[in-house]
């Protein structure tokens, strides 16, 4: 089966021009909020440096810190489980739910459980899983995947939310007021919270030194979800660790400012052990992460704290939508993480990038995103996964550019053609550069010619 690649899926998205612009603007608005927050702190760059170093340090001692975390979490009364892949993770969750015969589950936002496809797995077992983050609930009711890791429903218009809620929550038809719609979701999800047999959350940070974990939300849905039922299952990728509680000062200052331009999330909850009479189970998931650790090129991507800032700023993401990436984590960071799992399937993602470097500039933990994307392009070529539409023109260009004479001749022909050919001979399917944009105005002289004229003029002036 041929997997659809980014260009084809993005083509669907940009076919609706007005919507693509609307999406672009919505994300740029978030990017601007992030900028205002970043400049409000004179120490912003120092925070980024510190965060990056702490994460690199943690990765360099990952096994020790995982064991320390396990020891301390167990001491607090939590139960720690280890899952090497998605399948094992899902089975652990299922066995925990079966033990108490849990049928109704509330789950706060967790990209890890998306990555593991936990929902369909549990639903097949007859277990109801309700995503309680408003954005996630919207996409869940629409049977879609989140298109952004922080703003799961950023691609959906309020009119569409209204239609979805009218169908599932019996709201008034045509009432598109976000206040009204949020109120309807609040009342609907309150019923789910009160009826839940267990709560599942993701994890933003886990602390080796104390055995605790931190979950950040604006809505309070994670807290509400695990404060009523007795069973709390927390699912985390092993890269979520930080060594000490005090390290959180750095990360909590960066996370929400980078993500949504808030000074901090509304709730930053620190769970140390289960609540009295309850159970806390923590599942540590590898699912390919430990392999990434050994790669000096791509190890940096393990620093990611999933703020989504690289997506909000990415000119390609903003104009092609999260679903065009076909991965749980889209955008620049997703285009690095996905090929490390399966480079054949996701070979187009490192090319969904202009190498503008904006992602690297905003990343709160200083991942060299655009450098890694460039690295991936080379890696995909080495693995022989490039399509012929890319390799053949590259071979020709390389051959041509090795001869200054040939380069000059081809340039002259190209410039002449651009000036004299009719439109249909320039703008067609074989020239992707002319798709949805005008080719540059062709100058009469090449740079080399202009330079020669300039030099000879300078010589005659002297």
């Amino acid at each position: 089966m041929k997997t659809a690649q980014h260009p084809e899926q993005a083509a669907e998205f940009v076919a609706n021009d007005a919507r693509a612009h609307w999406h672009d603007q919505a994300l740029w608005f978030v990017r601007e909020k992030r900028d205002r927050m970043a400049v409000s702190l004179p120490e912003w760059e120092q925070l980024r440096d510190t965060a990056s170093q702490i994460k690199l340090h943690t990765v360099s001692r990952m096994a020790d810190y995982l064991e320390e975390f396990e020891r301390n979490a167990t001491k607090l009364g939590a139960v720690v489980h280890w899952a090497k892949d998605a399948q094992e993770h899902n089975e652990i969750v299922l066995s925990l739910l079966k033990k108490i015969d849990a049928k109704r589950i509330v789950k706060s936002k967790s990209m890890l459980t998306e990555e593991c496809h936990l929902n369909p797995f549990l639903e097949e077992q007859g277990i109801e899983v309700v995503d309680t983050d408003l954005g996630e609930r919207i996409v869940q009711l629409r049977k879609e995947a989140p298109s952004h890791i922080v703003l799961p429903a950023i691609h959906i218009k309020k009119e569409e939310v209204s239609e979805t809620f009218h169908e599932h929550l019996q709201t008034e038809a045509g009432n598109n007021d976000p206040n009204y719609l949020t109120e309807a979701a609040r009342n609907h999800l309150r019923e789910k919270f009160v009826a839940a047999d267990a709560g599942i959350t993701g994890v933003n940070f886990a602390i080796a030194e104390t055995g605790g974990l931190v979950v950040c939300t604006n809505e309070g849905n994670a807290d509400l979800g695990v404060s009523l039922p007795k069973l709390h299952i927390a699912c985390m990728g092993i890269e979520k660790l930080v060594p000490k509680a005090a390290d959180l000062s750095v990360f909590l200052r960066l996370l929400a400012r980078s993500a949504t331009g808030q000074p901090i999330t509304t709730y930053s909850s620190h769970f140390h052990g289960p609540r009295p009479g309850g159970e806390l189970h923590i599942i540590l998931v590898d699912n390919g992460r430990s392999n990434l650790m050994g790669s000096s090129q791509f190890r940096n991507s393990l620093k990611c704290i999933r703020c989504g800032a690289c997506m909000n700023t990415c000119p390609v993401y903003r104009r092609s939508g999260g679903h065009s990436y076909g991965t749980t984590v889209p955008g620049p960071i997703g285009s690095i993480l996905a090929p490390s799992r399966d480079s054949k399937q996701h070979k187009s993602l490192p090319f969904a990038c202009t190498l503008c470097g904006s992602c690297t500039d905003v990343c709160p933990v200083k991942i060299d995103l655009h450098h890694e994307l460039l690295e991936w392009r080379g890696e995909i070529r080495k693995r022989g996964q490039l399509p012929i539409s890319k390799t053949l023109p590259m071979k020709f260009t390389s051959w041509m550019m090795q001869s200054p004479w040939l380069f000059g001749v081809v340039g002259a022909i190209g410039r002449w053609c651009l000036r004299h050919f009719p439109r249909w001979a320039i703008y067609h399917g074989l020239n992707p550069w002319g798709k949805q944009r005008e080719m540059p105005e062709s100058p009469k002289q090449s740079f080399r010619e202009l330079y020669q004229i300039h030099e000879s003029k300078k010589a005659s002036d002297e």
Binding site: M62, L76, N218, L248
Partner: protein, 201 residues
């Protein structure tokens, strides 16, 4: 081999250069007027700060809050304001589902982000921080409100310790969402309003 050992072995087999922890010393931001900065940030995230000198003053301010005046079921864990629910007698947190208003103690506040720190050391059901329709915190301030406010998160963590089973959270403003077309809506799942009182003693 267990998955645990497989994962740990796989990590230990990777060659990763050692990197030192950078330490957390820095010229982190401080504010000339922490009270004013706190109030500004809290207002920006949808909450309201008050500096008061007595229980009577808290009650007077609360009476200005329509949700408090209309509240039928009030939980108070602060001696300054009376509630009408016997919190200690409640055995199942689900019974708190219909609490309209809660007045709860908070330990200290953070100027840079409008948050207060609370924990469940003396709170039987931690859901009380999330389930009431409206929420108020009372933060004891020894002499001046500024004494109860730290400048930044680094100072905040210096005040915290995590040696035992416990839940604690930073709360910055009322519950909110912008998941529908980036329109900010206050009152997503948790509190619809948040008042923070600094009580000078």
């Amino acid at each position: 081999m267990s998955s645990r050992d497989q994962i740990l072995n796989n990590i230990r087999n990777q060659i990763v250069a050692s990197v030192d922890h950078p330490g957390l010393a820095g010229e982190w931001i401080r504010y000339d007027d922490r009270v004013e900065h706190y109030a500004t940030v809290l207002a920006a995230v949808g909450g309201t700060a008050h500096v008061v000198d007595s229980a009577e003053q808290i009650l007077a301010e609360l009476n200005q809050v329509p949700a408090f005046a209309a509240a039928k079921k009030v939980v108070s864990l602060c001696g300054e304001v009376a509630g009408n629910v016997d919190f200690a007698q409640i055995d199942d947190p689900h019974k708190l589902e219909d609490v309209d208003f809660a007045i709860l103690p908070a330990q200290f506040a953070v100027a840079e982000n409008g948050a207060v720190w609370v924990d469940d050391a003396d709170v039987k059901h931690r859901v009380i921080y999330f389930i009431p329709q409206h929420l108020s915190f009372i933060v004891p301030a020894p002499q001046d409100a500024a004494d109860a406010i730290v400048d930044n998160m680094h100072q905040a963590y210096e005040r915290l310790s995590f040696g035992q089973p416990r839940f604690g959270t930073f709360v910055s403003g009322p519950s909110k969402t912008a998941d529908i077309e980036q329109s900010l809506v206050i009152g997503a799942h948790g509190a619809r309003s948040l008042n923070v009182f600094f009580l000078r003693q």
